[in-house]
């Protein structure tokens, strides 16, 4: 007996989707009001949605356009510092800039969070446009190194002496107002991700995928490589900037060391685990990695059996486990959670249906044909 791939009808899907959205809203509300979870849980959810946005933005370039860019940390830093500089309340500024006073040009400039966030995104996008012109003409591996380099340049500039009156140099910024409600990061992230999903589904998104599959053929199909790579790169930088801004509000204190290349590597872990070229995979893995990182803190603490202190438990073990996880995914599970697929109700439905079918077949003792599934390729 062959397994038959069945599709749910449209109404069911719409109802399920609405239920899911309602569930998310209720969950966010309950977390926000402290009905479930602790402030610690809220922090994890906040960081997860922020990383989901930045992860999807990175996947847009790396997974959908096939351009190996490693500049995300730099774009995040630009967004984070813009938001930081523009939103620190006037009263706290002398305290923040206690070593070198804040530049006169910006000392009275305070903006609402939303405006600052968009400006941060735009600055990141402008920076991406500037470096994109030379960088996007490079071959993939040179591009990786160049974007990595630019990301470090951003950090060097932020921490540099001449920038003290604006960025507060190596002291970093603090007293950045945080979110009044969990809904704010959740909504901003959702809107950002939704926009990127729409972009990917549009004709431009198809052109990105064509470039990923085969640059020569894409160009022969009339797709301007430079323009489309640039588009993807700049939009990605914009959302990385916005994500950086969210991160600044989440952390309330930032300094240039928080935007080291390790951040980009962590994002790479997220998108590789989720699947290069899958938005839902990225969101899923962002939640997994961010909460996993917190849960695994246990490994960083000293533990003992009786009086014997187990020597392997000490700070840093957690990150070793994470890097081993990345290596495992890269080497043995290359498609990650989702590969290039996206979450769909049909997928879930058939996944659930397939299990009883497999069990039944097992009971019947029908091992003869391994794959006897009728699966429409969709």
């Amino acid at each position: 007996m062959a397994f038959e791939y069945k599709r749910l009808n449209k109404t069911t899907k719409i109802i399920l989707t609405l239920l899911l959205i309602a569930g998310c809203i209720v969950l966010t509300y309950m977390l926000d009001k402290g009905i479930i979870g602790t402030s610690y849980t809220v922090r994890i959810v906040r960081i997860s949605v922020i990383y989901a946005l930045i992860g999807v933005s990175m996947n847009l370039v790396n997974g959908f356009t096939g351009v190996f860019s490693l500049g995300q940390a730099g774009f995040m830093a630009i967004g984070a510092y813009t938001v930081g500089v523009l939103t620190i309340p006037l009263a706290s500024r002398p305290n923040v800039y206690y070593l070198v006073p804040i530049s006169e040009k910006i000392q009275d400039l305070v903006m609402p969070f939303g405006v600052a966030l968009i400006i941060g995104g735009i600055f990141a996008a402008i920076f991406a446009a500037l470096i994109g012109t030379p960088v996007l003409r490079l071959k993939s591996d040179y591009l990786a190194i160049a974007t990595l380099g630019f990301s470090e340049i951003v950090r060097a500039i932020i921490a540099n002496n001449q920038m003290w009156p604006i960025t507060n140099g190596s002291l970093g910024l603090k007293s950045i107002p945080t979110f009044p409600s969990l809904f704010i990061p959740v909504i901003i992230s959702t809107v950002g991700i939704a926009f990127m999903v729409l972009l990917i589904k549009s004709s431009y998104g198809r052109a990105f995928k064509a470039i990923r599959e085969d640059e020569v053929a894409a160009e022969a199909m009339g797709i301007n490589l430079f323009k489309h790579k640039g588009l993807s790169f700049i939009i990605s930088a914009f959302f990385a900037g916005v994500g950086g801004g969210l991160l600044a509000a989440h952390l309330t204190a930032i300094d240039s060391n928080q935007f080291k290349i390790m951040v980009t590597y962590e994002l790479l872990l997220i998108i590789v685990l989720g699947g290069l070229g899958s938005v839902t995979g990225t969101v899923l893995s962002s939640f997994m990695i961010c909460s996993g990182k917190e849960l695994l803190r246990w490994f960083d603490l000293p533990h003992s059996i009786g009086t014997w202190k187990i020597p392997i438990f000490r700070p840093g073990l957690r990150m070793v486990i994470f890097s081993l996880l990345l290596m495992t995914v890269v080497l043995f599970w290359r498609r990650g959670l989702m590969g290039r697929k996206e979450f769909s109700w049909d997928g879930i439905y058939n996944f659930l249906r397939r299990w009883p079918w497999r069990v039944r077949r097992l009971i019947r003792g029908d091992y003869s044909k391994k794959q006897e599934e009728v699966t429409p390729n969709a």
Partner: protein, 297 residues
């Protein structure tokens, strides 16, 4: 800049450049054969720094045994990385193997943080290497004067190896065409392993020479030198050994003199390297000594 400072900078620059050159050779050889940026190379170099600390501080080895020990351990590390992380992905898309290289780099940095803590460790005294030596008014540790000599000697040995031995010929063949080389009966895996052995032993030697005049090693101390040396390899023409040495010298000297002449730009000295990379790639993508490779459509 007066003459003494000029010479002082020159000595420091040449020495730094030589250390860079040794790392850059590792990059260029691996890239030449596998077409892979070995992102982990800088971190292998960093690990070699820690191995040295261990050999001297924990086991109290004399300097000559230390060098041998560090080289062997680093080579084992590098070859293992190639076998475990790069070999299984050789047939997969370029991005996978690059991600794997980044993963290794991530793993090495995190392991170093775990094993040796994130705090900087003092680099030990290695025999006579750190003794300060004077030539006229210019003074520097002996290692600063030795480094360029070591690099030049190694360069000539390598050039002989690559151009006049059977292994070298096989290496050149593999770098030109993988499949054809395999069909000619060359053991690809062996050649790749040899390349990693050479690259990693140079990284080990370079680590000793580079860290000796510097006080500290910490888990990130391989990152920037790693990136810069890749830039050096690109500058000289990737895949070209003398090119990598020239590139290393250029970066080392440029960095030293930038800081020497414009002290206010110190914070940008790392950034300068990447500007150099971009300019180079735009105007002469094949590097100073590289050959053009036409892409087949």
């Amino acid at each position: 800049m007066d003459q003494v400072t000029l010479f002082q900078n020159l000595v420091t620059g040449v020495s730094l450049g030589s250390a860079y050159a040794l790392i850059a050779i590792g990059y260029t050889m691996v890239y030449g054969i596998l077409r892979l940026i070995n992102f982990a190379h800088g971190d292998i170099f960093m690990m070699a720094g820690y191995f040295t600390i261990f050999a001297v501080s924990s086991f109290g080895m004399p300097w000559y045994i230390t060098i041998l020990f560090v080289t062997v351990v680093t080579v084992i590390l590098g070859v293992t990385i190639e076998k475990v992380a790069y070999r299984p992905l050789r047939e997969s898309p370029r991005m996978s193997i690059m991600i794997s290289a980044i993963g290794v780099s991530y793993l090495l940095v995190n392991s170093a943080t775990y094993l040796f803590t994130g705090l900087p460790r003092a680099f030990p005294q290695l025999g006579f290497l750190q003794k300060v030596y004077h030539i006229g008014d210019v003074s520097a540790p002996i290692v600063t004067f030795i480094t360029p000599v070591v690099t030049i000697v190694i360069l000539f040995v390598l050039l002989y190896l690559v151009n006049f031995t059977k292994i070298g010929m096989a290496m050149r063949a593999v770098s030109k065409d993988f499949e054809a080389a395999r069909l000619m009966g060359i053991e690809i895996n062996k050649i790749i392993s040899i390349t990693f052995v050479i690259g990693c032993s140079l990284a080990a030697i370079s680590a000793i020479l580079y860290f000796s005049p510097r006080p500290m090693v910490f888990p990130f101390s391989g990152f920037m030198p790693g990136l810069k040396c890749f830039v050096a390899a690109v500058l000289g023409g990737i895949g070209n050994i003398p090119g990598a040495v020239i590139g290393g010298f250029i970066i080392g000297l440029a960095e030293t003199f930038l800081v020497g002449i414009f002290p206010q730009l110190t914070g940008y000295s790392d950034a300068f390297t990447f500007v150099l990379l971009i300019v180079m790639l735009l105007f002469r993508p094949t590097g100073l000594l590289g050959e053009k490779i036409a892409e087949k459509v």
